[in-house]
Amino acid sequence: MDAVGKILEEQLVTHGLSPAYAAIRTLTEVIRRSNESTGQGLIKELEQAKECLINEPHPLKSHTGRTPLSVMSGCDMFLHHIHKTLSEGDRAEFQNIKTKLVSQGLKLSEMRPICLNRITQMALRSFKDGQVILVHGYSEVVVTILLKAAEKFNITVLVTECRPFCEGYLMCEQLCKAEVSNKLIVDNAVACVMESVDMVMIGAEAVVENGGVVNRIGTYGIGLIAKSFLKPLYVCADSLKFVRMFPLSQRDLPEFTQGTVKAWPGHKMWQEIMTPIVDLTPPELITLLFTDLGILTPSGISDELIQLFR
């Protein structure tokens, strides 16, 4: 199943797709290249491909530093759609169904700009002139929203460094290029600056069933600080990130959310640190979620998930 990993890498690198959409493209490629002649066989092959994508996330980690959670959610949603189409379709027209699935997969993977557009339209309503926005982690959706908002309003963005992956620098680079007023702050300075912040905006690697959000490590802490200062926390994610998971605590997240990072080179004793890469922010800390399905409160997520997986 090496080929699957290679296809995913190609989608991520050459086409610059985000992980969930790249996973859908990969599965579409698998369908296209498949020699199976039955629905069950095709589904089995796709399930194997999905397992391979999730358990060997090397291309994912090295290129984007993310966990395979969004790959998992994208695959689940597409596979559910495939199941439904195959069970409703006529067995004799299998080749037609296959071609239809391939074209649908390609169309679905191109929906990202449309989803981004919708999310941006909704998120823009929460901005006003002179606001200070705190962001954590690198999210394409948040960057798009901030750039659009900066065209209309006079905003300042505080970006956390976001160690250990230092994604904050990437965020700052993009904001500087667009000449949006921004300031890079150390992760531990969040509590210190929170009183001058008007809102916190984050992306999501996955949105779980109870409305909680899995995002870069440190988000939980920022959520707690924002709640105690009564500042709103907005999550921006497209509905492909909705996952049918119900973690009750931080320990309930899957195995692949743990990783090792290089220690600070200044001290010779330790080379690596074992750390969770992502953490779970519970729904009580989240004010609103901006998704392409609309503006949702955390309590509305489970209903939307049921609709998507019907």
Partner: protein
Amino acid sequence: MEHLIPNFKDFLRSLKRGNNTGNHELCCRTCKFLLSLIKQFRLNSVHDVPILISTISLFGQLSSDILPLEISVVNIVRRVLHIIREEAEHRNIDISSENQRITTLTGFFRESETYSSTVDLIDLRETIKTEVKNLMEELETHKHNISDQASTHIFSNEIIMTYGYSSTVLEFLCSAKSVGRNFEVLVGESAPLLTGHQMCKELAAKNIATTLITDSAVYALMSRVNKVIIGTRALMANGGLLTEAGKYGVCLAAQAHCVPVLVTCGLFKLSPLYPFDQDTFNEFLSPNTIADRPESHEVEFINYSVPAFDYIPPELISLYITDVGGKMCSYLYRLLSEYYSIEDYNLYS
């Protein structure tokens, strides 16, 4: 469709100019207007149904332009649109417009469905008319449905605080009294319009022990209060309230003393909009309401700020008493999806 615009604008301006007896009256008139529009609309073929929907959407757009703070009026438009969309979906009529079709994942997955081309349009019109008449009946009986629940929330020897004048709360309290509960009511006078005075008079007329208090006394007396019951102008999608100015302070005082806050509101006030702060849906009243003929040299240096409305965040509210029963904040998204269609949340798209 364009020839109807002057007609719509005339009606909306008449609403604006009217006696302003409360937004319930405006909603009833809007509902009647939409019913007559549906009766007269020419439905010759299946393709006329999307045109009906866009005509009513246009009316909705005009009403949010001409009456920006009458959120309930636009809600009625959305309710009628939802009725039409549901009936059309039951009969498998294609009502989606080209650009709306695939903008969400759920839309994408539902894209490949077959639509019928011949439909009994007379039956469709009759069903829609019946549903809209049910909506009108709901508007007329919502206070009755809410006050029926009063005996489950109010008990004897309780001290209840309310603020300003609300006819729904008035009926709610009177209903509890008529069942035999013996309670006391503290009414905040709600400066500068002093609507609390009217509330006091009407409560006293029903033999309910009432005390009129100034706004500044609300926090001091809150420790003796068992419940706070308030009405609202509009209920937003996240559970926040858009009410007359002054109630935010009452709710904060209630939170500080751990007193539950109950909100009585009809479902027609539930809006799919989200406010982000105090100014999103607000207007300022004339300085005349607080300053009696200011001297000309004062006017230069003094700023008179009289906001008409308050936005109360959902964390301060314990229970919403609606005509379908008592609901928690986390349940509102269900009510929204039941009574409104997502395509109508933003009438301008």
